[in-house]
Amino acid sequence: MLINNDDVKKIAHLARLALTEQESKDFAGSLSRILGLIEQMNAVDTAGVEPMAHPSEAALRLREDVVKEENQRDQFQAVAPATEAGLYLVPRVLE
């Protein structure tokens, strides 16, 4: 599978990564090579094989829906780039 410059831009946007023209070109090359590697999977017929998401077969554990943690908002927000009055600040999304 060959990935071109436009494909890279589309994927980069899905992943929210700004790329320069040069980076897009470079990634087109390396991503194509990696997809070439990945496509070796097609050598094996996996029809009817149950997909394995996880090494432990047990179902995810559920916990009781009770409050266990204390409020640590100030501590958590201390590492945030921008906060005000207990809120995370982001650029305006609604006009």
Partner: protein, 486 residues
């Protein structure tokens, strides 16, 4: 004073006998890692922080309130969140990140009274096999400083190999403990998936990531893994199973042990010198009473392609949290929210991390899911089934950890696929969720270390630790120290 030749087991005994204080020991290691800081094994060292912990440990020992680890300095991979110390994960994205809490692994070691010597260098977000993707620069292999130490736990491996720390934590998603352990001549264990809590361990690929320990000896690995392992309600994939006393079974006899040798691990691509070292190691095991049986892992040759769908897919999801809103880097200039995300992530991530996020985003995108993600999950089942079949004929599986010894810096940085193939023998083990070790087994003609791979059955870390320890009773490869670091 030559404390740095000693293992954790020996240092713990010295501390308890009052032969040395934790403050003296910690200072000696701090001096030593300052002396060899050109190796670049550490990202963060905070001597005040470390000495404070040492003082507390000394007080505990005086009061008789100590464990086997009280006062022992340990280095931690910079992927484990540490309250009050930087946790960068090798990335520019987290260059200023001080976690507001301790990872469970860190908390367990703290509770046992051990001293955090510092945070070790690593490939960015654990994505790499040479430590060359770290934002904080490459780590040098003490056996040949023009060569890589392996990755992603390269800093931890070098810290132990050069005796800058008696032991260090690591994590292993596709070989990140075993491969650097092999390339630097130390002992490293990746436990079974679910054995060690992932809480506070920055996620790369959540169905594969597992914390473990890198040490000089299997005996230390047994002691330290016993401390790290165990059920944690904060990790939903942590398995609720009792942790056996790993030290208690170290001296079990290997008489009648059946060692499976997968034909696929000894074929094309394996360096001749590595192959002969492994052959000699297997002969040693026969002297210890073990026998070898041929086995086959027919789908293992497709583990690397399978992994490079699953791990990037999980990574693309996990790393979406780095958006410049809650922690870490945020771009200085942007026009709107999307622009802020895109610029923050463009500036914060290095090339290899971007590459893997994009492979993952592509594999999960509409129209490609079945061909890539689903296919890889089906293949994962076949790879895991191969191990189940193989273990009907043997107790442990052995082979090389890596196809070659350490390579030169820069040799594989332009070719990601060549870099990925370095993990050809380690990746199948992660896909199946099994425990695996790298055991120092000798050197190639250039004097570079070779690791013997020992793979165990699910949740049977005790057996592989025992198998490694018995070998270390009759060989001294694990005691070799790189020239210039004696």
């Amino acid at each position: 004073m030559s404390h740095y030749h000693k293992t954790i087991t020996e240092l713990g005994a010295d501390l308890q006998a009052g032969k040395v204080s934790s403050v003296e020991l910690t200072q000696a290691y701090l001096d030593r890692l300052e002396k060899f800081k050109d190796l670049n094994a550490f990202i963060t060292v905070d001597s005040v922080f470390a000495l404070d912990q040492a003082k507390t440990a000394d007080a505990q020992i005086k009061k008789g309130k100590n464990s086997a680890l009280t006062g022992c300095p340990i280095a931690h991979k910079d992927i484990f969140c540490t309250d009050g110390l930087l946790t960068t994960c090798g990335s520019h994205m987290l260059a200023n990140f001080v976690a507001p809490y301790d990872a469970t692994v860190i908390k367990k070691f703290k509770d046992a009274g051990s001293v955090t010597l510092g945070k070790t260098n690593m490939d960015e977000f654990a994505m790499g096999s040479s430590n060359e993707t770290s934002y904080y620069g490459v780590v040098k292999n003490p056996w040949d400083q023009d060569k890589v130490p392996g990755g992603s736990s390269g800093g931890s491996a070098v810290a132990v190999a050069a005796r800058l720390a008696p032991a260090a934590t690591g994590t292993d998603t596709g070989g990140s403990i075993r491969q650097p352990a092999a390339l630097t001549g130390i002992t490293g264990i990746k436990p079974s998936y679910g054995r060690v809590s992932r809480y506070g361990m920055i996620a790369f690929a959540s169905s594969l990531d597992q914390g473990g320990i890198m040490t000089q000896t299997a005996e230390d690995a047994a002691l330290l893994l016993g401390e790290m392992a165990g059920f944690d309600e904060r990790d939903s994939t942590s398995v609720d199973q009792a942790v056996p006393d790993y030290v208690a079974t170290l001296n079990d006899s290997l008489k009648g042990l059946k060692i499976g040798l997968p034909e696929e691990y000894f074929g094309e691509g394996l360096d001749d010198e590595v192959a002969s070292v492994i052959e000699v190691a297997l002969a040693e095991y026969k002297k210890l009473g073990a026998e070898t049986v041929p086995i086959s892992l027919p789908n293992s040759n497709l583990a690397v392609p399978c992994y490079y769908v699953l791990a990037p897919a999980e990574a693309s999801s996990n790393l979406s949290r780095f958006d410049g809103v809650r922690y870490g880097h945020r771009a200085k200039e942007y026009t709107n929210l999307d622009d802020m995300y895109e610029k923050t992530r463009a500036e914060g991530f290095g090339a290899e991390v971007k590459r893997r996020i994009m492979i993952g985003a592509y594999a999960l995108s509409a129209g490609y899911y079945d061909a890539y993600y689903l296919k890889a999950q089906q293949l994962r089942r076949l790879i895991a089934n191969d191990f189940t079949e193989a273990f009907k004929k043997c107790d442990v599986i052995m082979g090389p950890v890596t196809p070659t010894t350490a390579f030169r810096m820069g040799d594989k940085t332009d070719d990601p696929v060549a870099m990925y193939l370095n993990d050809i023998y380690t990746i199948p083990v992660n896909l199946a969720g099994l425990p695996g070790m790298s055991i120092p087994a000798g050197f190639d003609k250039a004097g570079m270390p070779v690791g013997l791979h020992c793979i165990g059955q699910y949740f049977d870390e005790a057996r592989i630790l025992n198998v490694a320890h018995q070998y270390q009773q009759v060989t001294d490869w694990h005691q070799k120290i790189p020239p210039g670091f004696e």
